[in-house]
């Protein structure tokens, strides 16, 4: 589209024919066109840096989600180096079962086991919530927030129960 040319105004400095008020900056046509991209760059949403990650506030469902990943990763790593060797010891023979019980009586081993128990319970409970979300149960905002809170309550309460059992309280 061609711009109508006002008499007495050069095309390189298109401006209104009324004299500008004091303090008003004269803007050329090319500046008007370019100001969109040059003066106000489009916002960019890049990945978070590690320093941003520390101050980034996630909603409860977001915390549940990242803990689902972390617990899954932890169980994956522990599988052939902690979980299977201990399981093997517990089932192989009467003698190795005794060694297993002795091993578990070590408080350090108990703490590692408690972490893995929490990881399993959190992964389990959060996973059940995801399965329900997949079949469109509780996808509304309020219901999803409530179910996220329920997962934390149930998984932490069960961890407490297993922990008390592990440390021989009952």
């Amino acid at each position: 589209m061609r711009m109508p040319k006002a008499p007495g105004v050069s095309s390189s400095a298109l401006c209104l024919s009324i004299p500008p008020a004091a303090g008003t900056k004269l803007v050329t046509f090319s500046e008007v066109v370019m100001s969109d991209s040059a003066a106000k760059p489009r916002p960019q949403f890049r990945n978070l840096t590690l320093s941003q990650l520390a101050s980034y506030r996630l909603p409860l469902a977001g915390k549940l989600s990242i803990l689902h990943r972390i617990s899954g990763l932890g169980l994956f790593l522990a599988l052939p180096i902690i979980l299977l060797p201990m399981f093997g010891k517990s089932v192989l023979s009467e003698a190795s079962f005794g060694q297993f019980r002795e091993m578990v009586s070590n408080p350090l081993v108990k703490i590692v086991l408690l972490c893995l128990i929490w990881a399993y319970l959190h992964h389990f409970c959060a996973g059940v919530r995801y399965l329900l979300l997949d079949v469109h149960v509780g996808v509304e905002k309020y219901a999803a927030q409530k179910s996220a809170a329920s997962v934390f309550v149930v998984s932490l309460a069960l961890t407490l129960v297993f922990g008390l059992k592990l440390f021989g309280v009952f």
């Binding site: 990943r69 169980l75 599988l79 052939p80 299977l84 399981f87 079962f97 389990f124 399965l131 997949d134």
Partner: protein, 126 residues
């Protein structure tokens, strides 16, 4: 051509392994959840935590068929596939360097296959 870009009649291409793995992750999750509940009930019904009681949870037989070992091993295979999909998702989301990501995926497969062999060896020696 534009009408094939979106909508229910869009042109779908690819190997479809994305949706296959998505479904597989959920099916394996259900298998593991059911087995967890079976084990939990078995453990709660155990009169005392002794070796014979404990090992029977995993090597019981039905009409001389090793059902205990079979259930445990099928669940372990589900676990391995489930963990593969989950770990692959993690590597795809956070590791942008292609070579490093492929290396981590290969190491994940080796880690899980070794675990499957280890589990089979344990289950068939009890």
């Amino acid at each position: 051509m534009a009408s094939k870009d979106f909508g229910s009649k869009r042109l779908v291409v690819g190997a479809h392994y994305g949706i296959f793995d998505w479904i597989a992750q959920r099916v394996t999750a259900i298998i593991m959840a059911v087995y967890t509940l079976i084990l939990l009930v078995g453990a709660l019904l155990m009169p005392a935590f002794t070796y014979p009681n404990w090992v029977r949870l995993f090597n019981f037989t039905v009409l001389s068929f090793p059902l205990g070992q079979m259930l445990a091993f099928l669940t372990f295979l589900s676990l391995a596939y489930h963990a593969w999909v989950g770990m692959r998702d993690i590597w795809m989301d956070y590791v942008r360097h292609t070579g490093l990501r492929i290396l981590l995926q290969v190491l994940t497969i080796i880690w899980l296959m070794a675990s499957v062999i280890y589990a089979a060896q344990i289950l068939w020696s009890i």
